[in-house]
Subunit: 502 residues, 2 copies
């Protein structure tokens, strides 16, 4: 059979319906898929169907978010006991915030390690998408690697989804190594973005394979709106800042390997590099969006390492039809290597991630709306912010017609502490807070990043708190007053903020 | 001259007074010293004197905290413009919280990297304590390495303090390597606690040495009270937990390399290992306290790596008179290697640190009293918690006669986020929150760690917040009500907490 180069697997070929029946109630599933790319497009959606008709319950561990409506249907049909380490689906998000699904929001680089440390998540079934199976029965992944290697190692049973929408020439794109548990971890000998340390396939025990199904459904396309004035301004501030670092001799024009989070802002920031002075760039990131291929086409980017490729339909059509042109400049790694503290600190990554809100002292909230409701999850932002060379967080200064300021007195949830944040940027400007004490940071952030409509209001909070003393001046009674007023009055803007009692 | 094995230095010998005059107003000083050990005991105290009489102002970067009253006198005499990356002195703390001194509270592993990245802190003078100078003019440090290698590399001028209270046989105790700036960092090839990768001395440019002074003042002794019932109980909970990890096959009886923070609780926890089932232990830590030597003497510990040795007078008298007995089992490293993300993640450190407070979701405050006033600083706790194998945080459940609960609805300052905390422990018990969603963590923490006097009160907060939904249930208006009530009524205990309005 086409794409299965290991004959003993031929009698494992089943329909999606048959394969999905191999999953038992309360199973823990380890599934491929990272920011929509390379996810299960047949069996896992069928698990959602079985939940609807039979009340099947499962725990789902993935690489990151899944494509199409898979997470939505799993949530809507009550299939999920627990979900980790990331999601980005509105229906699932609602179910999580209603306590219908337990959600563990985890650093994307740490899930594989966790599976080696605790027994809570014994993987019953791994469901992994592949472009092909090698002559040894090993798996060649599709557009993402994610946590698949560890899931396949830990799983009792393996279901493979051969996806014929991707070319078999994907073989050679991936670099797979399963890190050993400490104290046997050893060195991860990656010295540059393009260092390869493993195999182009995932080694598995063929006797664990219980089913192989065929699909031809492409990845859910990324939908990215064009850069707007705000994201362009953010991008320009970052480019200016990095240019100054070069002018003053702290970086070269090839900078250091770039990481960028997912979404419109991150994509726009990265796209800004196409027309910049920088050259011979490299990426050591977790997900590659359209902007990566724009940078290749512009001759700016030399090499890109990540754990997944998540692009729009137009970009996918382009790059997959002419894949050889890009393949030698790409590598996809397991996410505990793309996001490894060891490699990120050694290579000195410049990490650019987006914030939901940040505060006057540089603490960042990446996950929770008004401190309680989960948006998506921390993803890999912490892996890069914690251990990289430069940790940049960006967001617009305001949104919802100015009723929300994304710079607040105190973040309502902390994902990245003041200790891990170097640069903050909005369309208003950029604050480089490296080496600054909290009170210095506050003045710089208020001056450079805050929208003019909120500047006096935020300065009033800071001045009042400052007058009371303390390394990090705050008035605990008022620290969340902006958030609570937003809830009651629909805006963070205050008419009279100068007379509040202390 | 004794201990100076490089003759060109002999005309650099000066009095402390002369040497201190080489420091100019507004200089940035990079000084040796880490948790009191190996600090400048002559020239820096004289800088404090000059501040009193001449109004001299300096910025002081150290390894960590300094000994005797140096930080206190610098602060009291108005000498300090800025201080980083750590302090632990009551007078300096007060000055910081009064905004008399700018304080940058930084991960101890990251200061050296910061000096390579930004020019804000051009080191004018490095002041470093030494047991001797080699024939090449290189420096053999005393009881700490700290940030001295990077200070010496970056400094325009170097002042050496030869301290004759330490034996010259310290030569061989240290392992020094200056890491290159990215992208030239390369691998840090430490595979075990005892791996040596550098020199037993700090290489310097001898032409930068402007003065050498002699001292014979020993390190300020650590003062550690004996373990009390609470710290003993905390230690036992941790030992029981680790024992269970061994019983269930997740760790061996030699565990993984241990790190422990400084202070009474950490020392008591580590001392508990002397009478435990564990054996062939190793440490990869930042500071070694008395407990390390208790563990050596009990035959439990094979090797200890750190950046400093900070012990009581009794312990110091013991180990330095018989130093050869311990020397082969010890190594002192620069703090950006003792605390390196790369090594900590590779070796799989078990990090045990103390908290000021933690919340029901596992966020930890290590630094700020009621969210505003600095206590000491984050130190190295984040370096280990972020990248280690197991991140344990401990504190008593209550203090001040029960008026303060150290487990609160929401921490008033976040140093370690929910993503980086694995185990929380008080004398009441231990909560292993690995793999748990926030609402699961809350129930476990309330049940296991909270003092009975606060359990119902905390559960009432959680239940009420839970009823409103959200991944991390909170009521922002009440999240800090415990802290604000403590300020107004002297206790966090509430008589009526069930009827609060939502």
């Amino acid at each position: 059979m086409q794409r299965i180069h290991y004959t003993p697997y031929l009698d494992k070929i089943q329909t999606t319906e048959q394969a999905a029946l191999l999953i038992n109630n309360n199973d823990v599933l380890g599934v491929s898929g990272f920011t929509k790319a390379g996810d299960s497009k047949a069996v896992l959606p069928m698990v959602a169907e079985r939940a609807l008709y039979e009340g099947l319950k499962v725990t789902v561990l993935s690489g990151a978010s899944l494509g199409y409506d898979t997470d939505a249907n799993l949530a809507r049909n009550g299939a999920l006991v627990k979900r980790m380490p990331f999601q980005a689906d509105p229906t699932l998000r609602t179910a999580i915030n209603k306590h219908e699904v337990l959600y563990v929001d985890q650093h994307l680089g740490q899930t594989a390690d966790m599976l080696q440390k605790i027994d809570t998540f014994k993987i019953d079934v791994a469901i992994v998408e592949a472009v092909s199976v090698t002559a040894e029965g090993f798996i060649v992944p599709t557009t993402s690697v994610g946590n698949s290697p560890i899931f396949l190692e830990k799983a009792d049973k393996i279901i493979i989804e051969i996806n014929t929408s991707f070319p078999e020439s994907f073989l050679g794109l991936h670099d797979i190594k399963v890190l050993k548990k400490q104290p046997h971890r050893g060195i991860i000998p990656i010295l540059k973005s393009d260092t390869r340390i493993g195999d182009p396939f995932i080694r598995i025990d063929p006797s664990k394979v219980v089913a192989i199904v065929y699909t031809e459904k492409p990845d859910s396309p990324a939908v990215i709106s064009d850069p707007d004035e705000k994201t362009k301004a953010i991008s320009n501030h970052i480019l200016d800042f990095l240019g100054k670092e070069v002018d003053e001799g702290r970086l070269t024009e090839s900078l250091l390997p770039l990481q960028a989070g997912i979404g419109k802002t991150a994509n726009a920031i990265l796209s800004g590099f196409t027309k910049s002075r920088f050259k011979n760039l490299t990426m050591y990131s977790e997900v590659l969006q359209d902007s990566t291929f724009d940078l290749f086409d512009a001759g700016k980017l030399e090499f890109a390492s990540a754990s997944s490729i998540t692009v729009t339909k137009k970009c996918a059509d382009n790059i997959f039809k002419d894949f050889e042109k890009y393949k030698s400049k790409l590598v996809l790694r397991p996410q505990n290597i793309s996001n490894a503290a060891e490699v990120i600190s050694r290579l000195g990554i410049i990490g650019i991630n987006t914030a939901i809100e940040f505060d006057i002292y540089g603490n960042v909230n990446s996950t929770h709306i008004t401190g309680t409701k989960m948006m998506n999850g921390i993803g890999g932002s912490g892996d890069f912010a914690r251990n990289g060379y430069l940790s940049i967080f960006a967001c617009p200064s305001t949104s919802k017609g100015g009723s929300i300021s994304h710079i607040v007195p105190m973040v309502s949830h902390t994902d990245h502490t003041e200790h891990d944040v170097d640069v903050l940027v909005t369309e208003q400007g950029l604050a480089d807070v490296r080496g600054l004490a909290p009170v210095e940071r506050a003045r710089l952030i208020i001056n450079n990043c805050v929208h003019p409509d909120y500047r006096a209001q935020l300065l009033a909070y800071f001045d009042k708190a400052y007058s009371l003393g303390g390394q990090t001046p705050h008035i605990l009674k008022e620290a969340f007053s902006w958030h609570t007023q937003l809830k009651t009055q629909g805006t963070m803007h205050m008419n009279d903020y100068s007379s509040c009692d202390v």
